[in-house]
Symmetry: C2
């Protein structure tokens, strides 16, 4: 992803450029629908659930502020771009609750079809670039993607901890062991951020919000 943009980077010719811009604007208007995809997590204060568009903004801010805590060198600009597009497929595929095992069986196929349609709205080269960034995030192999994934897990842990007894953890009866199994990948991106996340999960057990299935810290 080139970060420096010179005027006229796009296809030559006014006609080609007008068609290109029309496709880009159509994609950006379609992307607006991500504001209607609801997540399980509530916003701070608990007045309503978070939507995926504002979640993605929040992760962009996390990347800007927390990049120094990545355990391997990361390209902050790529991480920011990755988190901004990482959930676009939910426009068609919906949000799959992190602890919904049945939903996860069909998630990959639903999201590939969504990626075909959504990134396909863009001019070919550009759609391919953004799709590659999304695929990289999904694969979670590169340092940038592992750190982006860490932020994507850390953010709901912080919001759920702040929600206390109103957290989806509590509503759905999720246990300490399930939470740790889901979120331990934060450590693949940042040991420091995983320590912060684990502190909050442990506190949720001590407070009695989350059941300890034998493996976790004793309730206080």
């Amino acid at each position: 992803m080139a970060s420096q943009h010179e005027p006229g980077d796009s296809d030559s010719g006014v006609g080609a450029d007008a068609g290109r811009l029309a496709r880009q604007l159509a994609f950006l208007l379609e992307a607006d629908r991500l504001k209607q995809v609801e997540r399980q997590t509530a916003i701070i204060g608990g007045s309503r659930r978070e939507n995926t568009a504002e979640h993605s903004w929040h992760l962009g801010l996390f990347a800007l502020v927390l990049a120094e805590h990545a355990d391997e060198p990361v390209d902050m600009a790529r991480v920011v771009a990755m988190v901004l597009v990482h959930d676009l497929v939910e426009i068609d595929a919906g949000d799959t609750f992190a602890y919904d095992e049945t939903g996860y069986e069909t998630k990959a196929a639903r999201e590939q079809a969504a990626a075909d349609r959504l990134f396909g709205l863009l001019p070919d080269g550009q759609g391919g670039q953004l799709r590659a960034l999304w695929e990289e995030h999904e694969a979670a192999v590169t340092a940038d993607a592992r750190f982006a994934n860490a932020l994507d897990r850390l953010q709901p842990v912080l919001l759920n901890h702040a929600a206390g007894t109103d957290a989806p953890w509590v509503r759905h009866g999720i246990t300490y062991e399930q939470i740790v199994r889901r979120n331990a990948v934060i450590a693949d991106g940042s040991q420091a951020l995983w320590a912060e996340a684990h502190d909050r999960i442990a506190e949720a057990v001590r407070e009695g919000w989350v059941a300890n299935d034998g493996a976790g810290p004793a309730p206080g």
Copy 2:
């Protein structure tokens, strides 16, 4: 803003780093409140108003997709970072409607106080960096800031055009001349994007959604 981040960029010493990380997380949780700031613009479909957090995400996506249309070279990563933080001050200062002249008289003072408090939550160097990015956006002098401002005006024009008779333009009786006066700065960042915006404003006049005060295109 350095884009490449090496592990250990932050202050040396575990104690210093823990305090630094605590401040960063406190800032990120406080930033969550931007999800509760309502704008005049409605999301596509019109089911509710847009909030400033999801607006900021949308602008980040605009920057990723439209950077090639900037009339001067821009650093896409800086533009993305700028739009992600450009409205954070609305957590304290609220959103000032674009056509509210009374609100605009006190806007600058309210927003400076908000910037003091919010960016002050971060470790000093980092808070200063993000605040500088916000100040640069407000001043709209650099090429990056002019382009970021262009996107910030273009996005609501697209949503308002899509809303037809439900647009805030219509609700508040804003005229063609007022809309053009407000949005012509898009041309300072991109002539191509201003042409697209103006096409939609002109259509709003032709459709009879917006009054033509003599200067605009004739209603159809």
